[in-house]
């Protein structure tokens, strides 16, 4: 079914739970078709649920048994793509040497926040044996283009939070700015009378920030790609037709800071 309805929520750019469900259903269909790995988890005994995806990636992670949560000047390479450097820690209690590449398991959950009436992205990373990564480690997963901005206001953007349905510590992107950056997308879509999947659009914005890839192909069933969509490859963005960016830019939520033929970095204002 075409869940390309406009994201009708309570007011324009907000998402009500039912629409969320519908968008998720549609998304999951696509995901299944693309073998993207998203699944739906339902909370026992209720109607509520969330989308979940687990990704395995590589990266160097600084783990020592005694110092899980404490900030360490750990040098962690990008989990995707780059070669890791050997890091030298200092004296430790445990003779666990700084490993080379290790497998890191990323778990992404898409929940619905009834408070903000937007979807929220929760995620966590851990080693295969279950030891979770610290926030700093997680940052290092963030694309350097976003990292600068995030480091300026770390606590406001990605924070450790209790998963509202599971109760375990996750990281999440604060949803309070979601409505602001979704509005222009929705308005343009509405104006062009195009159908839009809120979840797809939203996830394609926030996902890459934390290493989540949303292939372009999610949009194909929607029809004519009049809306310039984000083309995400390797966390790099290719330049869409100029006019579209300008449209987006004029709505005031996205500020292109540098134009590169192949790479564009954006600064986001999250909160």
């Amino acid at each position: 079914m075409m869940s390309g309805e406009r994201a009708e929520g309570a007011e324009g750019c907000f998402l009500d739970e039912e629409t969320f469900r519908r968008c998720c259903d549609h998304f999951l269909q696509r995901s299944q078709a693309l073998h993207d790995g998203w699944s739906w988890e339902q909370v026992k005994g209720t109607e509520e649920g969330y989308m979940k995806k687990t990704v395995l990636g590589t990266g160097r992670v600084n783990i020592s048994t005694a110092q899980d949560g404490h900030p360490r000047a750990g040098e962690v390479m990008d989990a995707v793509g780059d070669q890791g450097q050997v890091d030298d820690l200092g004296d430790e209690d445990t003779p666990v040497p700084a490993e080379g590449s290790s497998v890191i398991r990323f778990e992404y959950h898409v929940l619905y926040s009834c408070s903000y009436q937007t979807p929220v992205l929760y995620f966590r990373a851990s080693t295969l044996d279950g030891r979770p990564l610290s926030l700093e480690d997680v940052w290092d997963q963030v694309h350097p283009n976003y990292r600068q901005r995030l480091l300026q206001g770390p606590w406001d953007t990605i924070t450790q939070q209790e998963h509202p349905l599971i109760g375990q510590p996750f990281f999440f992107l604060h949803p309070c700015r979601t409505a602001d950056f979704m509005r222009p997308l929705l308005q343009v879509a509405h104006a062009e009378n195009r159908k839009l999947n809120y979840i797809v659009s939203w996830l394609s914005v926030v996902g890459p920030v934390v290493g989540l890839d949303v292939p372009l192909t999610y949009c194909e069933p929607l029809g004519s790609p009049a809306l310039p969509l984000w083309h995400l490859t390797d966390h790099c963005l290719t330049l869409p037709p100029a006019g579209a960016w300008q449209t987006l830019h004029s709505k005031g939520c996205l500020n292109p800071t540098a134009f590169d033929h192949h790479l564009i970095s954006f600064s986001f204002t999250w909160m």
Partner: protein
């Protein structure tokens, strides 16, 4: 109105007598005496336990010191819950003082959030306030406030300053007269025997006909099992701030007066004592 002010004060100044005992497996240089403290119900564990940390640091070796965490009868205590909620949820049926065990090792990564500094608590606190306001006023009031106002809220809580806090907080408790109440009531219902940590739903304080919804209406909607049927015995106690309000109490009033400083109404549903 004077009664309401008293209620606000009693809520703010609520205390729980607590006995902190060091975990027996912690390595100490000498015997660590337990540390007694009256914990504020409305604050957070990591915010008010500096003295505990100092006390126990005295008997421990420097190199053994890691992030402090607490547990009660095997359950790690989530510092990001208000202390009063933790107590009501876990220990309200037991004898006072509340015996909390202090740990410095083996931080339960899966269960507890890290709290490296007070800024984490502040961020969490402010995040709760924003979420509550998003429910009450679509976030308009908190967004209109300046950074220093946000700071004042946090400082009020941190330094236990009722007046300083409420000078700002009262703005968050206002609503348009014609509405009769907030847009939605920010609340969370906690249970010990549940997978999900809490229940949070959208709930309007005033019905479409204009009646004020009560606590009973809320529970009926969100947790109907809590309300006993006519002939049944009471299975659950509905505890807020250590007391059981009557089910006729209007939720709007509860939200205004019995919320925690984070503007959420934290409701603990605990099994009624069987004796």
């Amino acid at each position: 109105m004077a009664d309401d002010k008293d209620v606000l004060r009693d809520v703010w100044f609520g205390r729980i007598p607590t006995c902190f005992t060091l975990y027996q497996d912690e390595i100490t240089e000498r015997e660590a005496e337990p540390f007694y403290l009256l914990l504020p119900r409305v604050s957070y564990l990591t915010l008010v336990t500096d003295k505990v940390k100092k006390h126990f640091h005295k008997v421990m070796r420097q190199e053994d010191l890691e992030e402090m965490w607490f547990e009660y009868e095997g359950t790690p205590l989530k510092w990001h819950y208000p202390i009063g909620v933790l107590f009501d949820l876990h220990a309200s049926n037991t004898a006072l003082p509340w015996n909390i065990t202090v740990h410095f090792k083996d931080f339960p990564e899966r269960d507890l959030l890290h709290c490296p500094s007070n800024s984490v608590i502040e961020a969490h606190f402010m995040s709760s306030i924003k979420e509550a306001d998003a429910l009450k006023h679509k976030g308009q009031v908190v967004n209109e406030m300046q950074k220093k106002d946000h700071k004042q809220l946090w400082m009020g809580l941190q330094n236990d300053k009722f007046d300083q806090f409420w000078a700002m907080n009262r703005k968050l408790m206002e609503y348009p007269t014609e509405e009769g109440g907030f847009r939605y009531i920010p609340f969370r219902i906690y249970q010990t025997m549940s997978d999900r940590p809490f229940i949070q739903k959208l709930f309007r304080p005033v019905s479409s006909e204009g009646h004020a919804h009560t606590l009973g209406d809320l529970l009926k909607e969100v947790f109907p099992a809590a309300i006993p049927q006519d002939d049944e015995q009471k299975k659950y106690l509905i505890v807020i701030h250590g007391i059981e309000p009557l089910l006729e109490t209007p939720v709007q009033w509860l939200s205004e007066h019995l919320s925690h400083p984070d503007n959420f109404l934290h409701i603990s549903i605990i099994p009624a004592p069987s004796d």
